[in-house]
């Protein structure tokens, strides 16, 4: 397709000037404004909006997947009773790879996108701060939604949108760790060291070392399987 040639003689110039002025005047009289007065009004965001990440402790199996996948290295695992993620929002790029990686939906997206931090240290949001949404001081009374019915209309409703989204947890098959190749074992007990739930224990006796996996405690995170240097361990489907 060839681009249309634009005339540039005196007449078309005058028409051009008049056109430009007419648009200017028209918009000055009746503007098609699309600005929202943000802190007082708030844009309605879709449910899949990638905002601040919340954390549900009960669901977490301490599998470190979020920390491993994070492209910005923003997630660090912190030790409480187990290892739980903490997010450094000075690094986070809101790609939500962690949310998609979480096999148990312990990490959830919210619509919160405007949080003020006092300093860089505070930007490291620890696990206990991630469980509850941050304190919200909301000035907004109006929710604005972009609606197009032939023309773009900013629909203003006097309502306050809930920023926390209900996330439907993904269906998950449960696993537990098992010793599949005992003859490979070196007895190095790295699995016991890494196990976030202390499901793997080592008892040292005279001349031998007894390794145990407590499948009841095991969350099936697969960390020991990844860590084992000799492929001794493997994940097995949990029965029942």
């Amino acid at each position: 397709m060839k681009v249309e040639k634009v005339e540039f003689d005196a007449l078309s110039r005058i028409i051009g000037h008049l056109n430009a002025i007419s648009v200017g005047v028209k918009q000055a009289i009746k503007p098609e404004r699309i600005t929202t007065e943000y802190p007082r009004e708030r844009r309605k965001l879709p449910d899949n909006f990638r905002g601040l990440i919340l954390f549900e402790k009960d669901r977490c199996i301490s599998c470190f997947r979020c920390a491993f996948i994070c492209p910005a290295n923003a997630i660090q695992m912190e030790l409480y009773d187990n290892y739980y993620p903490s997010i450094d929002y000075s690094k986070c790029i809101f790609c939500h790879f962690c949310v998609d990686s979480c096999p148990t939906t312990a990490l959830k997206q919210t619509k919160i996108h405007d949080v003020a931090f006092k300093d860089l240290d505070e930007m490291v949001v620890h696990t206990d701060e991630m469980i509850n949404p941050p304190e919200l001081l909301r000035e907004d009374k109006i929710t604005v939604e972009y609606k197009i019915n032939g023309k773009l209309v900013l629909e203003r409703k006097r309502e306050v949108e809930d920023l926390i989204v209900d996330v439907i947890p993904v269906k998950r098959i449960e696993y537990h760790s098992a010793c599949v190749n005992p003859q490979n074992c070196l007895g190095d007990a790295l699995c016991a060291l890494i196990c976030p739930t202390n499901a793997i224990t080592v008892v040292e006796e005279e001349g031998r070392r007894i390794m145990k996996i407590d499948t009841a405690k095991c969350t099936g995170c697969g960390l020991c399987v990844r860590e084992c240097p000799t492929k001794t361990l493997g994940l097995v489907r949990r029965e029942g």
Partner: protein
Amino acid sequence: MLDAIFEMFKGNMVYIPLIQPIVNALMKIPIVNYIVALILWKPFFAVAILPGLGGIMIVLLLMVYWERKLTARVQWRVGPLEVCRPLRGLIQPLADGLRYFFQEVIVHVEAHRPYYVQLPILTFIPVLLPILFIPAGEIVAVRSQYAIQIIVALIALIPITIIAIGWASNNRFAYIGTVREAMMYFAYEIPFVIAVLAMILMYGSGDPYVIVEKQTVPGIVMNPIAFLVFFIATLMATSRLPFEIPEADQEIAFGPFVEYSGILFGIVMTLAYEKLYIMCLLMTILFFGGWSGFAIPLLGDLTPAIWLFVKAVVIMLIIALSRSIYPRFRLDQALRLGWTSMLGISLFSLAIAVVKVWWLG
């Protein structure tokens, strides 16, 4: 001696029925009555309050706000809002001015320090000089038969101060900016003078009083071509878009004013608005019937001044729209426009005036 001066003041005071009781009361208090008499002395009133400095202050505050607000409106935005929300951000320019006040003024090493600091303040002189000759009804500083010619001559002084500012800045961009300013000066000055000349020819006098008196039909109807030339010359002279060539912040980073900061920058930036104000006053007198308008009994002598001011301000507000419609021309294009089309149509407007005066009476 003092009494003689006081008598002179008293004999030529602005009469405003609305505040006359207060004036009368104040006139009885010693010393205060001197001050009141001075303020209401017509020449002083013209220069210091309306249409002089006071007018300029109002115009500056209003114009900056209006320009931003109008541009925002055209551009589907809101504009300044947060400074005093109930007034929709009306005092934003005041806040900006305040900020300029507390900002550090940096004078760089290579600048000519005395001129660099003094010139922005000195520019007030060529700006205020034309106001001496602009009458608003009875309120006038200097009454002259050749007032229009003198005003045009004095307006021509303003670019010289800008060039001096650029010179004192001693900067490559400032240099380019001043050269552009000088070139633009030549481009618009001649058509501008010819357009004014056409109007003077039409009215047969350079006396504003005669001009206003003769405008039973506004000058814009009598000679629209001259108005067009005058209008474009105004845009060029005050370096408004599409002729914002000397400043051109994307190309040469504010040209002559590139090195200024703080309150000096604030003063320098008002220069264009002050010039615009004077041009608009002149335009009102030449094309829009000056201070003529229905009398408001309560304001007395102030009525014509208010009319003049209001008309000028309205024109300014309309001119502000040009900023959101046009991009910037290149220098050579603007020069070509000035030296060919504008010169041509200004001569045409002169011809219209000649035809009207000689053949139609």
